[in-house]
Amino acid sequence: MGNIRFGLLALVAAAVTFAAARAIGNPYVFFAGYVVLQYVVLATAWNILGGYTGYVNFGTAAFFAMGAYTTVVLHKTVPVLPLPAMMLAGGAISALIGLGMGYLTLRLRGTFFSIATLAMAVVAQTLITNWNFVGGSRGAYIVRPRLSPIFPGDYIQYLFVIMLLLSVLAVVVARAIQHSRLGYGFAAIRDDEPAAEASGVPTLRLKLIATALSGGLMGMAGAPLPYYVTYLDPASGFSLSYAVNTIAMPLIGGTATWLGPLIGAVLLGTLQQVATVTISSALSLLLVGLLLVGFVIAAPKGIVGWFQR
């Protein structure tokens, strides 16, 4: 299937999802659905670097929070800016951070790269915590508009639609990459970097493309966050649970294809939302841990890998 046809199909699926959510008629569906969709974007973005290219990034929270804090800055300086524009700005900032981080750390392999990304997240959090303009450690309050600016309904429905469209974008991009020249280059890097280089693959440039793309999508996913939570502080924005969830979802779904992170995010994200409501929010992280252990033992290639055997 061509990328354009797949994109149209994904848009139809998104429209059906939105119609179904509206049909339920409970605003909580949008609040919960937003989080699941946000993880679809994060997991898909993570997988471009982690799954396709083989570089495990523990710094998801940093890219995500930088997108969110870009919105905080823009909200304070140019409040008339529409949310999609803020998302583009947040994406651009995070893509730049990805590029910079990539340039500094991509000579590291394996665990060393992962530790560097984790350290980068700590540095970014420290910077934001000490930046008074965005609220420092006190955090920042953002007043969420009451109504959607483009269609009749609550603002949360608008946020839901925005995240839905971003999910479509992320999945379409990830799928297009997987079947492209770029995807072959990423896979070659993941499998054997010196051999990739000997095959003519410009490994450094491709890795920078992967970090920038992955970071940019994470930043876009984080940009609407201040409007969703209405109160953002560094501890919650940079929460390690974003990084843990974002790694767990592709691993559970399967990292080799675009479908894996999507399945993992929908499955795990929904499960977490259900657990949060019915049991407790602390349990949702425990669930991630247990599922991860289970999958590593029973299906190390994830759900998609399980079916491809």
């Binding site: 020249r181 072959y184 280059g185 896979a187 070659a188 993941r190 499998d191 054997d192 010196p194 051999a195 990739a196 280089e197 000997a198 095959s199 003519g200 693959v201 410009p202 490994t203 450094l204 080799a256």
Partner: protein, 243 residues
């Protein structure tokens, strides 16, 4: 020899206090078959790595087809037309054989100036067929035997459409028949006009293959010339058998 394709002048490489290569000069002509031998640790693989850009040489210059290669990244050298096989085969384990070969087609053969882009799928099939692996095109490298792995390595190297192929011990550990098999394959490639540098310990193969033989000992070139004469040179004999 029809003009030098590869010229190496005064090549030197040290690892800390250890001198791996010292002042090595070497030329390879277009379409030439060159044998490169030397005891273990004599610097053969270091030289390959310096030529291919995996390592940076400390001194000296490498020129290939009129381009100075100094400081050029490995992938740029591949695109210029230097291909290598690795001493221990390094396939892309998660990709099928066809996709293994496809990577250099997409990244090296296609970007070369003046080369008409071929249909990647057909070229994949051609290359796998050439090394006799076409029926396993959809399998993963893990399913291959040792010799098949070497053949895949050669097919992948050839996929970048090189003018020079550096075969780093492609026959190590193979049986007598298998050595002949690979030897015939290399001769076929050479017949297509590709210069080949063969690094090998199997003397039977080297002598059968090479038009010229170069001997490295302790990072220095001690002989360069007609294979039959070189192997009778006293210092070469001494390096291998002791004096």
């Amino acid at each position: 020899m029809t003009g030098a394709l590869l010229t190496v002048a005064g090549l030197g490489k040290r690892f800390g206090g250890f001198i791996a290569l010292s002042d090595v000069d070497l030329t390879v002509g277009a379409g030439e078959r060159l044998g490169l031998i030397g005891p273990n640790g004599s610097g053969k693989s270091t030289m390959v790595n310096c030529l291919c850009g995996t390592l940076r040489n400390d001194t000296g210059n490498v020129t290939f087809g009129g381009h100075a290669l100094d400081g050029l990244a490995a992938h740029r050298r591949t695109r210029l037309g230097i291909a290598r096989s690795f001493q221990l085969p390094r396939p892309f384990p998660t990709l099928t054989l066809a996709d293994n070969v496809r990577v250099p087609i997409l990244y090296a053969a296609d970007v070369k100036a003046g080369r008409v882009a071929v249909d990647p799928r057909r070229r994949c099939e051609e290359l796998l067929n050439m090394v006799g692996l076409l029926d396993k095109a959809d399998r993963k490298p893990a399913d291959l035997t040792q010799i098949e792995m070497r053949k895949l390595e050669l097919a992948r190297a050839m996929a970048s459409e090189p003018r020079l192929l550096i075969a780093d011990e492609v026959m190590a550990g193979l049986s007598h028949r298998e050595v002949d098999d690979i030897l015939a394959l290399l001769m076929t490639l050479n017949g297509q006009g590709i210069a080949i540098v063969m690094i090998e310990h199997i003397m039977r193969a080297v002598l059968a293959f090479s038009q010229r033989l170069v001997v490295l000992v302790a990072g220095r070139k001690i002989a360069d010339g007609d294979p039959q004469e070189v192997v009778r040179q006293p210092d070469v004999v001494a390096a291998y058998l002791g004096s």
